[in-house]
């Protein structure tokens, strides 16, 4: 009997030990290793979070964003290809509590920094379907005063938080990566090494960029597939018929009116590969070239043809002069969107070699400007004659197929 009793005591002690063992081996010890890693591998002065970003973090936690979005890029090929560099311990040093998440209905968000502009985020939070037609993300209208361009402070905080995700890592740059590699001091450890060789920190296929390749698209895109792709992916912004009148009316600049423009194949290819940086127009790098060719075919169908008016030489000359004096520093001498002022501009000026607006559109733009870009209103500065002359003139840069 006594022995039995003893054995129960031994057993109970063992039980407690098991638990303590698990906490030590899988909790305390890893936490210490991680703390050390965090210290050794962080950049010298990693950028922290502002007050507003901290508040945004709390909103993110409160709304359960982490139950559809992870903030943990894993050390796997698929994750690295899709999202970018795997999450290191030091990147999470400000997360009390952590927001790693264990389910992805939406994509990982740890590399959101500069992936979408604020107008996109606001429209997306207010009504995800207005920018991503097939999204299942919930709407967060309670964060707005009734409209996507009327965000409350909470919405602003949340968006600034989203835009901070991955920032410290990105800003640490190559020196930061080198420091991490040194701090890790793990040349034989396969996983971290993998991370150090990741090509980019942010691999998001939708992130727009100003410069990038222009892959050649296959010649004749499948128009039926193209129309379907268009309706599922583009119509929410550009409108069902491409008039730029989709559900996302709060974006600035507004989505382009595709019916009022002609796009060269090269321009379309560039835009689909790289998006339009600084605007809500995302890139579509994760699409196959066939799909891109298909949607390009569907776009051509949307653009309305216009009879080209004969232009008197005197008008063209006036147009050229006005252009040289007023427009070339932005749009470039040959209309390539590559004038000397471009590095200063948030949004690259229209590349008129690849985009030809209709005459009416050109005049409209000169009269009204393009809200959300530095393309100004010209009515005060140019006479009516000059205005229409330059509107004619800029259409001549186009280098796509003739219409």
């Amino acid at each position: 009997m006594r022995a039995l009793r003893m054995s129960y005591i031994v057993a109970s002690v063992a039980g407690v030990l098991f638990f303590v063992l698990s906490v030590t081996l899988l909790g305390v010890w890893p936490a210490r290793v991680l703390q050390e890693q965090s210290r050794n591998m962080a950049p010298e002065n990693p950028l922290g979070l502002t007050r507003s970003e901290m508040r945004g973090r709390a909103i993110y936690a409160r709304e359960g964003c982490a139950y559809c979005h992870t903030q943990q890029v894993r050390f796997t090929e698929a994750d690295m290809k899709r999202f970018g560099a795997p999450t290191l311990a030091w990147e999470t040093r400000l997360d009390y509590p952590h927001l790693w998440g264990t389910r992805r209905i939406g994509p990982d968000l740890s590399r959101q920094y500069q992936t979408h502009p604020a107008d996109w985020h606001f429209a997306h939070l207010y009504s995800p379907r207005s920018v991503v037609a097939d999204s299942v993300m919930p709407t967060y209208r309670a964060l707005f005063n009734g409209a996507p361009d009327q965000p409350t402070q909470e919405a602003r905080d949340l968006v600034s938080y989203l835009d901070s995700l991955g920032r410290a890592r990105e800003l640490a740059g190559p020196e930061g990566e080198a420091r991490a590699r040194k701090g890790c001091n793990c040349p034989d450890d396969e996983m971290p090494q993998m991370a150090f060789h990741s090509a980019v920190i942010n691999a998001n296929a939708g992130k727009a960029r100003r410069e990038g390749p222009t892959p050649a698209l296959p010649g004749n895109g499948d128009i039926v597939r193209g129309r379907e792709l268009y309706q599922h992916n583009c119509a929410s912004c550009h409108g069902p018929r491409g008039h730029g009148d989709g559900a996302a009316g709060s974006l600035r600049p507004l989505p382009a009116d595709l019916s009022e423009h002609q796009y060269s194949p090269a321009r379309l290819s560039f835009v689909l590969e790289n998006g339009v940086a600084g605007t809500a127009m995302p890139a579509w790098r994760d699409w196959s070239l066939d799909d891109r060719a298909a949607v390009a075919a569907a776009l051509r169908e949307l653009s309305v043809g216009q009879p080209e008016p004969g232009i008197p030489p005197a008008t063209l000359e006036l147009g050229a002069r006005v252009y040289r004096d007023n427009c070339a520093q932005c749009h470039g001498m040959n209309g390539g969107g590559d004038g000397s002022a471009v590095p200063e501009l948030r949004i690259v000026p229209a590349n008129l070699q690849g985009v030809r607006p209709t005459l009416a559109q050109s005049i409209r733009v000169l009269r009204n400007g393009i809200e959300g870009t530095q393309m100004a209103v010209w009515t005060g500065r140019l006479s009516e004659a000059e205005l229409s002359a330059v509107a004619y003139y800029v259409r001549g840069f186009y280098q796509g197929e003739p219409r």
Binding site: M1, Y8, G15, F18, F19, S22, L25, L26, G27, W29, P30, V33, L34, S38, A61, R62, E63, G64, C65, Y67, C68, T70, Q72, R74, F75, T76, A78, D79, K81, R82, P86, T87, L88, A89, E91, T92, R93, L94, Y96, P97, H98, W100, T102, R103, R104, G106, P107, S127, V132, D134, S135, V136, P138, T139, R141, A142, D189, A205, W284, D286
Partner: protein
């Protein structure tokens, strides 16, 4: 007991409604748009917390009130304390927890979504539960504890440790460090709380209802100790391929594989005890419990597999895992708990269940689980394939949609099943003619039950 049983089922409906709303929102994402408490995240928090605290915990408590006196031959500590515990649990933990989450006070930690204030009451209530139930075991003397008692002891005591670890530590340790503890708790919530108590029910009901002792007490004890050794060591498998040290990950993955083997052992022992007893067809609670046992086997094998790196690489983050958790909580734990309540109900002289309603309930619930879990698994596989392929993200969302529809539809049999269960609980024959009922259902006095639950000595 009666109160906890009914509270359990009522809260189950609330929790399921949260789940159903959240599930439906994945198909109709604008449902409830603009109503902040109706946003998906908050419903999702309340769904799982409701299942864990509202449904399962109430069900477990109900069962303990029935089982502890039988197991120990002693009453629980105090009826007064019982009322306090009931009030505290339901009116200071579950209901305020739900409301706080809906109002926007919560923490983004899995199985720990109720805010910190609520945690204080949870711990207090767990302490009260320990005070209520444990002394009976100790005064009885530990010499001839039946395995169910071990599980009850283990479950109650270790949850007292594990709960604060999972709920508090990540609030004070940053990011990855906190996540290491979170992973432990995610698993301990299931492994050190739900599983032991569900197994306690299973180990109790099988011999009590099938009128034979458990097949092997030695295997029971071996299973118990292995379980308590291995379960806590599993936690890190929730973060495979993360920055958490690889040796910890590998350790957890190995423990996960061993755990699967252990569960095979446990379940074999349980099923062998049932073999040819002939009570399965007649005794509905037993049928619930036996089905729960089979789900337990399936879910554990699945768990061991999905912890392995090659599989985890693909299916982690997908609906496969959601299927897994429903198989665990809805298949295993809920069937055990429902069986436990029904079994105990039959033994409250003035309650009893309605046999027809219970039979309906059983079949409806089985249908629901068998609709939902395979479809979530298929959705997970489709998502995994698309994620690996580099296709645009939305493809995976579109691919899941059909399965999400089936999941929502599976709510029909599930709701119907639990309504039948509730009807079964409240419309049973009662009062007069007790003796007749007792012979009809083959009830036997406690003195006959107890010996079967004793250690074979």
């Amino acid at each position: 007991m009666y109160a906890h049983g009914l509270a359990a089922v009522l809260m189950l409906f609330v929790s399921m409604t949260f789940g159903l709303l959240a599930g439906t929102q994945l198909l109709l994402p604008d449902l409830g748009a603009g109503v902040s408490w109706m946003t998906w995240g908050r419903l999702r928090y309340d769904h799982t917390q409701g299942i864990l605290f509202g449904w399962l915990t109430n069900a477990f408590l109900a069962f303990l009130y029935h089982a502890v006196p039988v197991l120990t031959g002693r009453p629980v500590l105090s009826a007064r304390l019982g009322q306090w515990l009931f009030g505290l649990w339901n009116f200071a933990v579950v209901i305020p927890g739900w409301l706080l989450v809906l109002a926007g006070f919560s923490q983004p930690l899995e199985w720990a979504e109720f805010p910190l204030v609520t945690d204080a009451f949870v711990i207090l209530a767990l302490l009260l539960a320990a005070i209520q139930f444990l002394p009976a075991f100790f005064t009885k003397g530990l010499e001839d504890l039946y395995v169910s008692s071990w599980y009850v002891l283990g479950g109650l005591i270790f949850t007292l440790f594990a709960y604060p670890m999972g709920n508090l530590v990540p609030e004070f340790l940053p990011g990855a460090q906190g996540a290491a503890f979170s992973g432990l708790w995610i698993h301990d919530a299931v492994g050190l709380y739900v599983t032991p108590l569900a197994l306690a029910i299973i180990y109790y009901v099988i011999p009590a209802a099938s009128r034979r002792p458990i097949y092997s007490h030695f295997l029971s004890m071996l299973g118990f100790w292995l379980l308590f050794f291995l379960y806590p060591l599993n936690g890190t498998h929730h973060y495979v391929y993360s920055v958490i040290p690889m040796s910890a990950q590998i350790g957890a993955i190995t423990a996960s594989a061993l755990l699967g083997l252990d569960v095979i052992l446990v379940v074999t022992n349980l099923l062998l005890s049932l073999r040819g007893s002939g009570y399965l067809a007649r005794d509905i609670p037993l049928r619930f419990v036996a089905t729960g046992t089979v789900f337990y086997l399936l879910v554990s094998i699945q768990g061991s597999l999905q912890a392995q790196m090659a599989i985890n690489r693909a299916v982690h983050f997908s609906d496969w895992v959601i299927g897994h958790s429903h198989l665990a909580m809805l298949g295993f734990a809920t069937f055990a708990a429902a069986g436990g309540i029904a079994h105990a109900w039959q033994r409250i002289p003035w309650a009893r269940y309605n046999r027809r309603a219970m039979t309906w309930s059983y079949w409806l619930l089985v249908t629901g689980v068998l609709l939902m879990v395979p479809h979530l698994t298929l959705a997970g596989l489709a998502e995994a394939r698309l994620w690996q392929s580099g296709a645009p993200w939305l493809e995976s969302v579109r691919a899941a949609q059909l399965h999400w529809l089936v999941r929502v539809l599976s709510a029909i049999p599930l709701f119907a099943g639990f309504i039948a269960f509730l009807i079964g609980l409240v419309t049973g024959p009662r009062g007069a003619g007790l003796a007749e009922i007792e012979t009809a259902i083959g009830l036997e006095p406690v003195e006959h039950v107890s010996p079967r639950l004793a250690e074979a000595s």
